[in-house]
């Protein structure tokens, strides 16, 4: 029995390691190529490691402006999503009305909408409203597309805050918004952080929405500029592409680490997803 257990453990470990290696290989390429002056397409450790590739891409046009645009765009959109989601979640979580259930089902339905399909009419709408190539319009659309899921998740976290404290505040004559601000939010800030970070990570990597709605090179976020820099003129400089990819990816990796800390280990996110 014990021997069999040990065998199955060994087998599980070996299979897992094999799969893990397959997942790591493409990731290794980006690490090695970024410090290789003559990087090619295969994983190879550079003979003379150098930071030249990073020096080459660390300038306003290639890195600083797109990253800053990304922070403005995704940060603004994530904050807007969060404010609307908290406000919407409060009545949904605190009051029973006939309106709640259909509204929540609609929200759930919207989380399943393929946003890609809506992009052509959204572009048409933006042309009508003169919003094409504006940061404000793009921020509003990005915020809206993340809203259904954010409302759902925020309401789930808010349901976990007991109502008794608020009732005391209501008796003292505090309004709903005051109770939300002074009592509910301080008790659920870890949940707020989770929704905010999750929303931001999703937006940071999103390519299609800014690709469709923004045109001027000086407004493009990193997700699109990486494509326009490296995807358009034949053979790119792989070392610089890898270095830039690392710089662009670092913020979401740090945020993800923060998120898994907050949720107590990487796998708690599954629990959050299940709601």
């Amino acid at each position: 029995m014990i021997a069999r257990d040990r065998m199955s453990k060994l087998a599980s470990n070996l299979v897992l390691l094999a799969i893990g290696v397959l997942f790591v290989l493409p990731l290794l390429w980006v690490l090695f190529a970024s410090i290789n002056r003559t990087a090619g397409l295969r994983v190879e450790f550079p003979t003379h490691p150098t930071l030249g590739n990073f020096k080459a891409v660390l300038n306003t046009d290639t890195t600083y402006r797109p990253v800053l645009n990304g922070i403005v765009l995704c940060g603004g959109a994530a904050l807007l999503t969060m404010v609307c989601a908290v406000l919407a979640a409060y009545p949904l979580s605190r009051f029973r009305t006939r309106f709640n259930r259909p509204f929540l089902l609609t929200v759930l339905f919207c989380t399943g909408l393929p946003i890609t399909a809506v992009m052509v009419p959204v572009y048409g709408l933006f042309v009508q409203l003169n919003l094409v190539d504006t940061l404000g319009g793009t921020i509003m659309f990005m915020a809206t597309s993340a809203l259904p899921f954010a409302i759902w998740l925020t309401k789930t976290f808010m349901d976990g805050v007991p109502l008794s404290l608020e009732e005391a505040a209501w008796v003292d004559g505090a309004g709903n918004m005051r109770a939300l601000w002074a009592i509910v939010l301080p008790l659920m800030w870890p949940g707020i952080a989770v929704v905010l970070i999750f929303t931001f990570i999703g937006m940071w990597g999103n390519f299609f929405v800014p690709f469709m709605l923004l045109l001027s090179p000086e407004r493009l976020p990193a997700s699109v500029s990486i494509f326009t820099f490296f995807g358009q003129y034949g053979e790119p400089n792989y070392g610089q592409l890898a270095a830039y990819s690392l710089i662009y990816t670092t913020p979401v990796l740090l945020l993800y680490l923060l998120l898994s800390r907050k949720l107590g280990g990487a796998f708690a996110l599954g629990g959050a997803i299940k709601g």
Binding site: V15, P26, V43, A117, M140, W152, G270
Partner: protein, 312 residues
């Protein structure tokens, strides 16, 4: 990482009611006011475009030419044109292949397999594999596309490995583009299924599996008759969510192959983009978008029904 995820529990019973039965109507309405910013945004930017989509799909709207000057209703012409066009049926077919290989078979099975194996493995191995799989998921879409383009290229790592064991390699992006982008999507999306299944499996009481083992049920039988039936809900939810996500993958394929060579990896989103923006046929593009929305809506409805019957 454009994940739209929804919890598996149906409308969570908030179980909280402040009564409010005796309040006047006006006060009740005021209480619901905080919903207005969210509803406003969703009306303008989600409901608006969908309604516009339904309208434009039946017109000859275009950015240039006759459809730009005077837009007129053309009835079902766009749909007739679509279903009789080889390019459209090709993209429907490729979308189904892409969804089947990369989501329903790939991400789902691999995610479940990883979650099962992780319960029987040692901690360092578990952490290493978990980090690698989640790392691939957190990467921005275009970065993932470039990494995998390098991996599948003629001079790339995959062929180096194949040659090392004596197998012939090829330039996957030219020879088998839809297979390459499907594998890329498996690499990028498996983490989601793994997390969902890890969470679901962690809720199964250990005693149940142990007693099945005592009764002499072997590994496979235990999985089929004990473990899987207990996570049916997670399986259904996960399948539905990754199917919807995979239907609308654009950036990954666009950055890897541009839908090419020719139209060999042109799935519906890429076909729609080409028609609406490269060829300026907005009306026709929205008709394709409507087909996509319909496919998505059918899945969403099945999903909601599943949730509702579970909640009963």
């Amino acid at each position: 990482m454009t994940t739209t995820v929804a919890p598996t529990s149906a409308t969570a019973p908030s179980g909280k009611s402040t009564g409010g039965g005796g309040k006047p109507k006006a006060a009740k309405l005021v209480r619901m006011l905080p919903l207005s910013p969210a509803i406003g945004l969703m009306l303008v930017f989600l409901a608006g475009p969908i309604i516009y989509c339904v309208y434009a799909a039946f017109t000859n709207m275009a950015l240039t030419g006759t459809g730009a000057a005077n837009v007129k209703f053309v009835g079902l012409d766009n749909f007739r044109k679509a279903f009789s066009s080889g390019a459209f049926t090709n993209s429907i077919w490729l979308t189904l292949v892409f969804t089947l290989i990369s989501a329903i078979i790939g991400q789902n099975t691999l995610g479940l397999g990883l979650a099962l194996l992780m319960r029987r493995s040692t901690k360092p191995v578990r952490n290493f594999v978990g980090t690698a799989v989640i790392g691939a998921w957190v990467l921005p879409e275009v970065v993932a596309a470039y990494l995998l383009s390098a991996f599948f290229n003629d001079d790339g790592t995959l062929n180096v490995m194949l040659h090392a064991v004596g197998l012939p390699g090829q330039d996957w992006l030219y020879g088998a583009p839809i297979i390459a982008v499907s594998l890329a999507n498996i690499w990028r999306g498996t983490a989601f299924s793994m997390l969902v299944y890890s969470a679901a499996l962690s809720e199964i009481p250990k005693e149940i599996e142990e007693s099945a083992e005592m009764d002499g049920a072997g590994g496979w039988r235990r999985l089929l008759f004990v473990t899987l039936p207990m996570i049916t809900r997670a399986v259904m939810t996960n399948l539905m969510l990754i199917t919807l996500q995979t239907l609308s993958v654009f950036g990954l394929i666009y950055a890897m192959t541009r839908g090419g060579p020719g139209t060999k990896s042109q799935t519906l989103p890429l076909y729609m983009y080409e028609q609406a923006f490269s060829f300026s046929q907005i009306g026709y593009g929205t008709a394709i978008a409507l087909v996509m929305l319909a496919i998505g809506a059918v899945f969403s409805l099945i999903y909601l029904r599943g949730l509702n019957s579970e909640a009963a």
